[in-house]
């Protein structure tokens, strides 16, 4: 393989990761059909693999790919005009009067292109789609993962995932989910829905729901890339900045969460020199910015992700200030009254007031159906009972936690704790 081929292939891979959403979003506006647009974009990347080794990597790879994909789309659309009349097409607003059928490549359509990525994101993360479908579509269409990769990320079969994606695309066109950035009035609520999807993508990567690996770095990296992009496009919303900070601060500990033997290391015992201190510095600056901007909004309190990021920031301190954490959890519980937050608050309480009061705080959660199969509730209860010396009860709780956890490193940790009782 020649050096030119190696360079070109690396450039195509890089453009795949950085420009996929940009190229696809600009092409969807021509095809008004997601499948056809995907096909054209895949063709454009294949053409890049063929041309770039000989012709050199273009100065603006994204622009090159977009032009090739759009031209291919225009060809197909013109050829199949009669067939297309029978398809339900995506509802696309006219953008500044631009007509993709008549504008030549010299037209400054680039000016509207960042918006196109947002259109694609808001279409993929429309609340009329099931949340699993929103995540799958986002990974497929925004991050450019193959269906097989999306299937692996969520531990389902490829056929199941393909069916899920097809069903979601069909609903978008048939139900008329528009290819559009929501109006100013709807934007905050719809932005929350997008952040929800990216956060779910991140948490699925941070602690894999099952399997041999504690985490899935590929999913975390995609979620981080996506949040950085959102922060560029929607950064005026402090919650977007808050989520970016949360991901950076949480993932900064990636290198220290397992020891050399692959065993889980608790936060308090982690080797802090192995934390990513650049990510921590960036995350801390972002969380301060998010909190400051939230408080500037009249009658507005910091949102859920900004508060979660503030909590993650406290955890990256030299020592952990549990009183500050308890205060932040109280604020978060008011903003986001979730039983999972109440559980985490109880952990903080166990370090300020002791395991007894924390155990009392868990009591109402034990009958909450939303936590009925939540392994961390049993694991937390087990730890509190262990600290209180109530060993037979702790044993039962550890056994229950083991039944509810399918992540192997977490299971090994719980089994070790159970053994040591």
């Amino acid at each position: 393989m020649t050096a030119e081929t190696v360079t070109a292939e690396a450039a195509v891979a890089d453009a795949h990761r950085r420009e996929w959403a940009f190229v696809l979003a600009a092409t969807v506006r021509v095809t008004r059909d997601l499948d056809l647009a995907e096909e054209c974009v895949q063709d454009a990347y294949a053409k890049a693999l063929e041309k770039w080794p000989a012709d050199g990597v273009p100065a603006a790879p994204g622009a090159w790919l977009t032009t090739v994909a759009r031209n291919r789309a225009l060809d197909l659309v013109r050829r199949d005009a009669t067939l297309r009349r029978r398809l339900p097409l995506l509802v696309v607003d006219a953008l500044g009067g631009e007509d993709p059928f008549t504008d030549g490549p010299e037209d400054p359509f680039w000016a509207g292109a960042p918006d196109d990525r947002l259109r694609l994101i808001f279409t993929c993360c429309h609340p009329a789609l099931a949340i699993e479908a929103q995540v799958a579509l986002t990974l497929r269409l925004i991050c450019g993962l193959t269906t097989a990769e999306v299937a692996r990320a969520f531990l389902v079969g490829e056929a199941t995932m393909a069916a899920r994606i097809t069903r979601a695309k069909k609903k978008i066109s048939t139900a008329g989910i528009p290819y559009r950035v929501p109006s100013a009035g709807e934007l905050p609520a719809r932005t929350r829905a997008v952040l929800e999807v990216v956060h779910l993508m991140f948490t699925t990567g941070h602690t894999a729901p099952a399997g041999e690996r504690l985490l899935r770095g590929d999913l975390i990296d995609r979620a981080l890339d996506l949040t950085r992009m959102l922060n560029c496009l929607l950064g005026t919303d402090p919650e977007v900045t808050g989520l970016l900070a949360l991901i950076l601060l949480t993932d900064a500990r990636r290198g220290s969460r397992l020891d050399a033997e692959g065993r889980l290391v608790l936060l308090a015992d982690q080797d802090r020199t192995r934390w990513d201190h650049d990510a921590i510095a960036e995350g801390r600056a972002l969380v301060e910015d998010a909190l400051r901007r939230s408080s500037h909004r009249l009658r507005r309190r910091p949102g859920r992700f900004s508060l979660m990021a503030a909590i993650a920031a406290v955890h990256t301190g030299e020592t952990t200030d549990w009183h500050e954490l308890l205060g932040l959890y109280d604020l978060l519980l008011e903003t986001w009254p979730s039983p999972v937050v109440a559980l985490n608050r109880a952990v903080a309480l166990s370090f300020t007031d002791g395991p007894g009061p924390a155990l009392d705080a868990l009591t109402p959660l034990l009958s909450d159906p939303r936590l009925a199969s939540y392994g961390y509730l049993s694991a937390t209860r087990a730890d509190l009972l262990r600290r209180l010396g109530r060993l037979p009860e702790a044993r039962d709780a550890y056994e229950e936690a083991l039944l509810l956890t399918e992540n192997q490193p977490e299971r090994a940790f719980l089994a070790e704790r159970l053994e040591a009782l």
């Binding site: 009349r85 339900p88 509802v91 559009r180």
Partner: protein, 126 residues
């Protein structure tokens, strides 16, 4: 433009036990919705309660079984509908939000446009 059927599901018991004031408010809400969307509403009706419903099912041997009651028994029953025209689902959702309900909710279904008569179907977008 597409057509959507907005189905109204509500608790019939809430209708039955509603006092005069809240029944009047509910009707007022429907009149206001109809007036605001006069151009978009293609058709609308309220249904008699499910106690008046009759279900008809093929019995598998060429005949039919007739039974008293709705096809599916649910706490929130289909009580009425609006057939509306809207440019997209977001617009249909925005309309549905303005339809008054007691404790139930609304279901939005896009109307199927038959493609066998391409070019003549009213709902086909260019």
């Amino acid at each position: 433009m597409s057509q959507y059927l907005i189905l109204i599901y509500d608790d019939e018991a809430a209708w039955d036990s509603a006092d005069e004031r809240s029944s009047a408010d509910m009707l007022e809400g429907h009149y206001a919705f109809g007036a605001r969307h006069e151009k978009d509403v293609v058709g609308a009706n309220a249904l008699q309660p499910t106690a008046t419903a009759t279900s008809v099912r093929p019995d598998g041997s060429g005949g039919f079984t007739i039974t008293d009651g709705p096809f599916v028994e649910t706490k929130e029953a289909l009580g009425g509908y609006y057939l509306v025209e809207a440019p997209d689902l977001d617009a249909a959702i925005a309309m549905a939000r303005q339809i008054p309900v007691f404790s139930g909710g609304l279901e939005i279904r896009p109307i199927l446009v038959h493609t066998t008569t391409a070019g003549t179907g009213g709902g086909n977008r260019p």
